[in-house]
């Protein structure tokens, strides 16, 4: 039996889909069997980031409606045998799926995979409820912006009410060390102290991430980039390894501060 992890944020455009694609790829790189589920009905793009959009025949709504079998809708990744994608429907009604149906579907996937990663749409409406319905764990993505942190806090409050989801963990995405240094962006430890949940990882803002997404080749495949190493480390932490946080800051003082935070909460 695998684990289902929902990747959510409240606010849109903070990197849920990017995080899902890259953690999934990094887990597959570690030999794990992974299924990525796009629940953003009407606005799917996990398939694009994975470079799989041309292979879609059936989608999540088809499966739920019984128009196809689950395995027919699963798309094999180009790079890994053990990685598949269940795409969202692009043109169908958002309300076509109910939380109970999602839970049944995810439970079925958990039989065949080590990890089922669920890419959640922005917001706290129906789409969010569907995405969370089958999850055992949650990863909350935020950027170092006030509004993003505020929405992450709101989502954490909602997740804490879901008995079947264990305490959410945090990914801080698009950190810009220079801005933090200049005091123009919120510091990671300030974010962690407000949200008061375990920090799973920090990902730098990196143009390579956007380039890789456009090529349909997740950055986690890259051996050198900092963002790639960050995602791979997150994957290892999900697997239960204890991996120290990356040094995003030139300033040594900063690093020890962040390290200490992680150590304290791990």
């Amino acid at each position: 039996m695998g684990e289902a992890i929902v990747i959510t944020s409240g606010k849109g455009g903070v990197g849920k889909t990017t995080t899902t694609a890259n953690i999934g790829t990094a887990l597959a790189l570690n030999g794990k069997r992974v299924c990525l589920v796009d629940t953003d009905i009407g606005l799917r793009n996990l398939d694009v980031v994975m470079g799989l959009e041309n292979r879609i025949i059936y989608d999540l709504v088809d499966v739920v409606k019984g128009d196809c079998r689950l395995h027919q809708a699963l798309i094999k990744d180009k790079r890994f045998e053990s990685l598949t994608l269940l795409p969202a429907a692009q043109s169908k009604d958002k309300s076509a799926v109910k939380p109970a149906q999602m839970k049944k579907l995810v439970d079925e996937l958990k039989q065949d995979y080590d990890y089922v990663l669920i890419d959640c749409p922005a917001g706290i409406e129906q789409g969010y409820k569907n995405a969370v319905a089958g999850a055992d764990q949650a990863i909350v993505v935020t950027t170092p912006e006030k509004s993003s942190v505020r929405d992450a806090d709101r989502i954490i409050g909602l997740l804490e009410k879901e008995d079947h989801v264990s305490s959410p963990r945090l990914v801080v995405n698009r950190i810009r060390p220079q801005m933090v240094k200049n005091g123009e962006a919120i510091d990671v430890d300030e974010i962690v102290s407000v949200l008061a949940i375990e920090l799973l990882g920090i990902v730098a803002d990196d143009d390579e991430v956007i380039r890789a997404s456009n090529d349909g080749e997740p950055i986690a495949m890259d051996n050198k980039s900092r963002a790639s190493i960050a995602y791979r480390n997150i994957a290892r932490r999900i697997n239960g390894e204890s991996v120290p946080l990356l040094n995003l800051y030139e300033d040594k003082g900063m690093l020890t501060k962040v390290k200490k935070f992680f150590g304290m909460r791990a």
């Binding site: 806090d153 409050g157 804490e160």
Partner: protein, 230 residues
């Protein structure tokens, strides 16, 4: 050989430095009290036309429960006859409903978690948050509010109108403070570092909200201390 009995008085008047105290017999009919009160008040000196001083009255009612409308009847006599107002009522009895409210108002509700954005916690009595109140989170209490962690959201103490209520926080960094109907926002553009010591907010004599070190709380509001432990 029957001893002549002194007629039991239904209304006894005492003068104090704060005004007048009326002790009402709690065994007789209410009408008898009204009658005797009118008689006794008419014997008292009439207030001067230009005297703006309003006499404050304290009623001592023993085991008699006064209905709203009975209090009104008494007040009418005081107003008409000696230009006085009932200030306090000292009674040995309250209704069940009042007792229940008193119990709730005196209780402390504890909450050990973060109050997050979009969440509202509302209690009768005092509220103790063992954790933070985040931006966008709201805590409300009819009594006092104590936040052991950081208060970054909205706190509303004395929400039913009690201006004596206070708000304490380990780190006072709120988006808004309210005590009864008095509101205070942090000054625009000036971000508090939150490095200050634990603080308390209260409404001062000018109906302004003030912040003080936590050690002043008991001096400003002695009533916070439980009588049992002094």
């Amino acid at each position: 050989m029957v001893q002549k009995q002194v007629k039991q008085q239904n209304v006894i008047i005492k003068g104090t430095k704060d005004g007048l105290t009326f002790v009402l017999n709690d065994q007789c009919a209410f009408d008898d009290i009204l009658e005797e009160l009118s008689d006794k008040l008419s014997e008292r000196p009439q207030p001067q036309e230009n005297d703006s001083n309003v006499v404050k009255i304290k009623l001592v009612t023993g085991k008699r429960y006064l209905e709203e409308q009975q209090i009104e009847q008494l007040q009418n006599r005081f107003t008409e006859q000696i230009h006085a107002v009932i200030d306090t009522i000292d009674t040995d009895v309250i209704t069940k409903h009042e007792a229940e409210e008193m119990r709730l108002d005196n209780q402390v509700s504890r909450l050990a978690r973060v109050v997050r954005s979009g969440q509202i916690i509302e209690v009768l009595g005092d509220l103790l948050v063992v954790g933070d109140v985040n931006p966008g989170g709201t805590v409300k209490a009819s009594g006092n509010i104590y936040v052991l962690g950081s208060l970054r959201g909205i706190a509303h103490a004395g929400m039913n109108g009690n201006r004596e209520a206070i708000i304490c926080a380990g780190k006072m960094n709120p988006s808004q403070l309210r005590i009864a109907d008095v509101i205070r926002r942090p000054p625009e553009g000036e971000e508090r570092t939150g490095e200050e010591d634990m603080e308390c907010a209260f409404v001062n004599g000018e109906n302004q909200m003030e912040l003080e070190r936590i050690s002043k709380a008991g001096i400003i509001r002695p009533g916070i201390t439980d009588e049992r432990i002094g």
